[in-house]
Subunit: 366 residues, 4 copies
């Protein structure tokens, strides 16, 4: 029997806890270490998830030869450096979305992985969400005919952590944070044909007091095969996380609702512990989800990469895919500023996507 893959986490916040849980449920993996700079963060996290080793300096952790695979869940502006360090320490890396801040960083990361001979997977969990996997099978089987329009959206009322709102650290608003999911979803669903153009409509409509980033966005892609794709993203949608996809084709149509659709419809006069991510109150009607990590594909994503590492297989989603997504995000901000459809390929020296966008004066909101 093959030895389990030893996994280390960099980061100890929301996404890291999903990763830890996912690793724990993966029989082929062993949760070995965690690093997080905050005073006591790593130690507390290690205790919570029964992880033997905890570090405040991730570089020290990377020096442990027992570690095979590192999962990086840190603010966007650190993605590149941490990944480069992990690769040069000889680790396989799963890097959270979005890949990094800019295209130069992306190229460095790809080159570093090649040089190190290590796997660098881009963590787009929607490609592993079981409902969307079935949706792709429907499309691939011809059940819907030739696709005409794909839609995907992710909406909630805004991230918890401060770094998401700070454009210096995040690089972009909701287009960067949630739009990246839709873009890779479309590429994966269609077999990754070339994207020929991007149009985006963005605005800061509700959270102008907290951020200069976009809090609502619509993004339209055109693919070389004539398919249109529409991403709809929001940081201002109340009532809990919403994640949906639709596929329209010449012979049919399919609607897939990942959370709300699957939920238990609940009315509680008293409220209860938890309905779904960012649900707000659970008093009154709510839509209770279950096995959220499984429904999103987080468990399957981790299990897949562990399997890739263990049996030397190529990951389903690569750093090159992450770079392609990032290119679209840059083009989207360019489009939102100019009010024009932007052709791809799109190259830019911009340090981060948001730099290409100048938000119109936000309206005062009562």
């Amino acid at each position: 029997m093959t030895a389990p893959v030893r996994v280390a986490l960099i980061g100890s916040k929301f996404i890291a806890s999903i990763h830890a849980e996912s690793v724990r449920q993966c029989p082929a993996a062993e949760l070995f270490a965690v690093a997080s700079p905050g005073e006591g963060s790593a130690a507390a996290f290690a205790e919570r998830f029964h992880i033997p080793h905890a570090f405040t300096d991730y570089r020290q952790m990377l020096a442990m030869p027992e570690i095979d695979l590192v999962i990086v869940g840190v603010p966007n502006f650190l993605h590149c450096q941490v990944t480069l360090d992990a690769l040069s320490a000889g680790k396989h890396v799963l890097i959270e979305k979005p890949l990094c801040m800019n295209l130069r960083e992306a190229d460095e990361m790809i080159a570093a992985a090649a040089k190190a001979g290590r796997k660098l997977m881009y963590a787009e969990e929607l490609c592993f969400a079981p409902k969307y996997v079935r949706l792709k099978q429907l499309l691939d089987s011809g059940a819907l005919g030739t696709p005409t329009l794909l839609k995907q959206s992710e909406k909630h009322d805004g991230p918890h952590a401060a770094h998401f709102w700070d454009m210096e650290r995040a690089g972009g608003g909701v287009t960067m944070d949630l739009g990246c999911h839709a873009i890779e979803f479309f590429r994966w669903m269609l077999g990754r044909p070339r994207i020929t153009s991007v149009y985006a409509q963005m605005a800061t409509q509700v959270h102008g007091d907290k951020t200069t980033g976009d809090d609502n966005a619509l993004i339209i892609l055109e693919f070389e095969n004539g398919v249109t794709a529409l991403a709809e993203e929001s940081w201002t949608k109340l009532g809990g996380m919403d994640d949906r996809a639709e596929v329209y084709g010449s012979k049919g149509v399919a609607y897939a609702d990942l959370l709300h659709g699957n939920s238990i419809e609940t009315y509680s006069a008293t409220g209860y512990d938890y309905a779904v991510e960012k649900a707000g109150s659970t008093v009154g009607w709510s839509f209770t989800i279950y096995e959220e990590a499984w429904n999103y594909g987080f468990l399957q994503e981790i299990a897949h990469f562990v399997d890739c590492v263990q049996h030397d297989k190529p990951p389903l989603v690569t750093a090159e895919d992450g770079r392609a997504v990032l290119e679209v995000i840059f083009a989207a901000y360019e489009s939102a500023r100019t009010g024009r459809k932007v052709s791809l390929p799109f190259s830019t020296d911009a340090a981060k996507p948001i730099d290409l966008w100048i938000s119109p004066d936000p309206k005062p909101r009562p």
Copy 2:
């Protein structure tokens, strides 16, 4: 008791039968005459709906002094001339959507109504659809806070009558036919603030053998108050008519599904007479609607205009509104050609909206 309003119909096809049924259910109105050029069409229609007078030449019908109100349901390219004739015959006119072929015609119609001192109502039934009326009340009451994004879509698998597919007679494809609903819906829902820009994505994806018009369209509007609106229109969506709206605001969100949402969920091994407009087969699962004309607001629309005529009130939707919608449609085709957001006001001498669009080579569809 006030005398009933005498109503005449011009046209005897699909929409005319909805109008006839709506007039019949309006106690304040009397269905008095119908005109339709086809051999025997008017006579058959008159018999079916128990209408006392039938004409092949609508001009003869307009000469009847008993007629108070004319409802025009004819191909788009005839809207202007028929309306002008009816107004100059001293009739009040309810003109079907879209208002007419171009802005010059729109101005003529508005001027003619003013000159004749007769009411010219623009038939946007969605402003009377009871579910959408409630949705507007929710928004107006503040239940959803300040609006950020409005969505509306209408989708089916394409019109029956040939004139819709013929751009000379229709003036545009799905944007002209169904997009007009969404545009007035947005204006009405928001209290008709100024639209500042339009962006449109159009394609002929499935019906390239039948039409040079667009059969799928996405249209993004920006309003002066900072609200974004997204219209999604299709002539290629199978499985029956779909009509939905969503309102997102700073304090809430509301989803309204006019047909599918309200339907009886039916499984029939044998199939049955009718599920919903353009449902295709009713064998297997289908979504059976009921009182379709009421749910769409057709009955209420007719009753409203009859009341306006009877009691000299201004109609809820005017020819000026219809002109504003048409301006957006022109701007949408301009945008679809140029790939740019088009600022409003937009003026053009184009004879019809489609003239501003050059479809990219449609992809061959298997």
Copy 3:
């Protein structure tokens, strides 16, 4: 043109306001008078609905020769006497459900109507609810094959008015109040075949502090044609009124949800005026209904009876139907007491249905 039917209301509470609104929307009817015993009730009601005549003593009102039709919306124990008075005053009567307190009263009412030569309609609005009307058409058309099981349920968290909770005035609990809807729904849906047996499960589970009546009930009917029907009724279901029906047949199945199914799905952080009858709070998620009276069939019911009176037609639902429903209700309470299926016809001298039931000691509820 026929003269409008002059309508008087007896009662000024919840159901009377629905009746008043329904009459107001009926062009063939004129809302002429209202009677209610409470100090100022009738006057206030008359002002609210612009009714010319108001009475505290309904007998005085019945003396007005101008009145053609009386709608009775009073506590159950008064149904019989008020109806007899109205009939003997020469009025046509629409009597609210349930018909009356016992079978002797039912027989008296039926005889009185015959003797007076006046129409006595039993107000089961579900037979006019447009969604259920369509459901019946589906079944009648053979789309579902031969029926096997019918279900209907009505659920909310309990009535507002005190007389519903008081068994002396109401005659029964939720089976009497809501079960009567389901029983006539089943009879109507199937073309009124003979019911051969009734089984009922009842309990006082939540409102033992307020009532000795049943607050939850399941009722199973067998029809002579082999169809089973299941009624599910509750006075303890939170989150707003729920009214659903299902029809299962050898060739298909159909699900119809009258309120929740049709609603606008709303999330409001602030709450708003009204979602649906007995919704409780509207903060958070709620299911907003629209045109409630129309969806329930109240408008259509009134319009139908006005038409019956105006054109001397037999009503769709008669006092004989109301008596048949009452017989089933008595049998249901008998069954709930004995734990046995009760065969029909069932005759009893009991003064009211609840007398046949002895509630088991209600469990204390925390």
Copy 4:
């Protein structure tokens, strides 16, 4: 690291393939052998699932000392004998539902397990279905208050295999086949309080040509804590498997729909491979499920029992629970015959549940 548990299957039909798939996805288990009497059945099954050993005689298989755990998926009338053989061969046994044909067999099986010192788990997968697990947490947390009514139903259009229709081999109809799920669901959901009474309504409404068993059933249970439970089961419901539960309480209500609710809503003009168990045609609208075994809890059930065996823990559902379910099934058939509520405990010498029921003459069905 603990050695994997070696699993053998008895049976090679529908349920066995679900078990095989579930074992394959369980890292702690190893699929070691399969036995099935049909010519070549076991060999074909073994090849399909890569199982090293195949037998036509399960007794030969039981002689293999390497086998730790046996999963029994055979017709009901063989449950007892096969289980006894497996236990006496020293194997732990997972026995499919229903436990066996009668109470004497149940007692024998329980005694045999005790004597052999081996675990005998009763396979009620609904106790592992993740949506229902979450539903139970909601109830246990107090979110719904004190429960009043529980509902659960499972419906499809009838089993594939002949032995289900043959009362000699099955022991009962839909109450035996699907009712058993609901009964254990209720017990588990409520923490297994005592059931005090059972009432059942059964009929053979559609499949009288194929079976003398009940093809539709309603079953009402009363629990000692005052909760009512309603099971609704059908072998005549078209349009695909349906599995739903509802929990009503004094402080709230929750609706959980296992399949239809979670599905992708699909319209396909061409049809496709598979929507859901017993879906019938996939042309037109259908409700596409994904990861069916996971959603039902089959994977989790197997993983749980493997864990129980590996780490000597008591299973969540035991043979004693299976016996309690069987007692209710007998009482249900007794009730359906007598038209009376039957008190529990209920003892009977009947050889199989159906013996207590005499079906009324089935109506001829067109």
